[in-house]
Symmetry: C2
Subunit: 190 residues, 2 copies
């Protein structure tokens, strides 16, 4: 049960977004601009950054939701997603993505934790200005999304089988209004 | 100098937004929805919450920018703004706003720091579901904005006299595109 009466039974951020569509719309548009963008980082890499930051923030709802979306983009490689979530330094990903996850983890602690050396290390692995910009903003945005969900005590399904159907919907349709409006099949009210 | 080449000389978040208009637009719309809204909390109260959270995050650019906007709404009472920024418990504000600033400060630490007791305390002071929702999301959003600014090392003017002209513009026109686009008088390129 969330701390406030959201007047709906959607789980996680969806329940909060349905309560406040005025703020939900730009949040959905920001998520689309950051996570569905294909220039530079791939959607899979973007969702992996979101998953790792959400894991660091201990946001169960978000790291499972975005981990599942990353998993779809990675053809079901859930083991890779789990490795990036918990121990990206030893995961089977590029050195470039590792250097960006290092920056993302610094941002999770606070903006001032990022150093010139962190940025230079990413550049040496081929990261562009846009890659670095997007990494910092994805990490920063998930410090918002995670706090929104947990700060209002949003309903968090513990049954992991409820996450893949929602992830499929987001992978196909993006972070649009469908996330928080309209009737949903009962099985997806999670 | 920011960590990336933003190709403009706007200061603070404006320089980053001009570099990335696709993400800047929804961020501006979210700021408008959260900070210019007049239902429930006043714009002054909203900017005070933003200022306090930015101060806790040690984001010099943001706590001075939003402190100046709050100051305009409060008829120039800079002392009150400074008291809320640094020690709201002893500031001359309502007990309701104090109880909401307590929640905002918990959100700054992390979403899970907010307790049922914090929320109940705010309700006892007259806070509605919308007040609590908006407080949590303003605090969460500034955990994003602050990290975006400092995580990319945005240019931060140290001359405090440069903040009031920008604050006046935002107070009058909101957080629209004018913030990061179009020619600005040289004196406002800060």
């Amino acid at each position: 049960m969330p701390y406030i009466n959201v007047n709906n039974d959607f789980a996680g951020i969806r329940g909060l977004m349905a309560f406040s569509p005025e703020t939900a719309e730009p949040m959905g548009e920001l998520a689309n601009a950051l996570l569905k963008e294909t220039e530079g980082l791939s959607p899979a890499e973007r969702e992996l950054i979101a998953t790792h930051v959400s894991y660091l923030n201990e946001c169960f709802y978000c790291h499972n939701s975005h981990g599942e979306i990353a998993c779809i983009y990675l053809n079901g490689d859930r083991e890779l997603v789990d490795n990036v979530r918990k121990d990206y330094q030893h995961a089977n990903i590029s050195n470039k993505l590792k250097s960006l996850l290092n920056i993302a983890a610094k941002v999770q602690q606070g903006g001032k934790f990022v150093t010139t050396e962190d940025v230079e290390a990413a550049r040496k692995q081929g990261a562009t200005d846009k890659d670095i910009h997007d990494t910092v903003l994805i990490a920063a945005a998930f410090c918002m999304f995670n706090r929104y969900v947990d700060g209002l005590g949003a309903t968090t399904p513990t049954d992991l089988s409820t996450y893949p159907p929602r992830a499929q919907q987001v992978a196909e349709r993006g972070y649009g209004k469908h996330i928080f409006s309209g009737a949903q099949p009962a099985a997806q009210k999670v």
